[in-house]
């Protein structure tokens, strides 16, 4: 089976792929890069609680 093009996958697609293919180091690397490029850098770990709460306040499931 050909591997998907990780660069063209959304974060959700990559996340689902990694959960299904936990030994695929290339996919794990691609997911980490995606989060570092598109995510939010936290000033401290304690901010995690805040961003999750904000997401819930927006009616989204974190």
């Amino acid at each position: 089976m050909n591997k998907p093009n990780f660069r063209e996958m959304t974060r959700k697609q990559l996340r689902d792929y990694v959960l299904q293919n936990r030994g695929d180091t290339e996919a794990i690397h691609a997911l980490a890069l995606h989060v570092q490029s598109n995510g939010k850098r936290l000033n401290s770990v304690d901010e995690l609680q805040q961003v999750i709460q904000e997401k819930r306040n927006q009616g989204l499931e974190p």
Partner: protein, 51 residues
Amino acid sequence: MKQLYRVLTWLTQMYLPVYLVTLDERTNNIVVIAGEETVVVINPEAEVDYE
């Protein structure tokens, strides 16, 4: 390691199930997959990214 401990503590305290904790072997970043949408990356400098 302390950051990972704190990330996992917060996630579970916020009732998010943690599905996978793994290592990006190329960069030594720790990747945590939790909840419905959450992915957290901790780099070797202990900086934390959330998406």
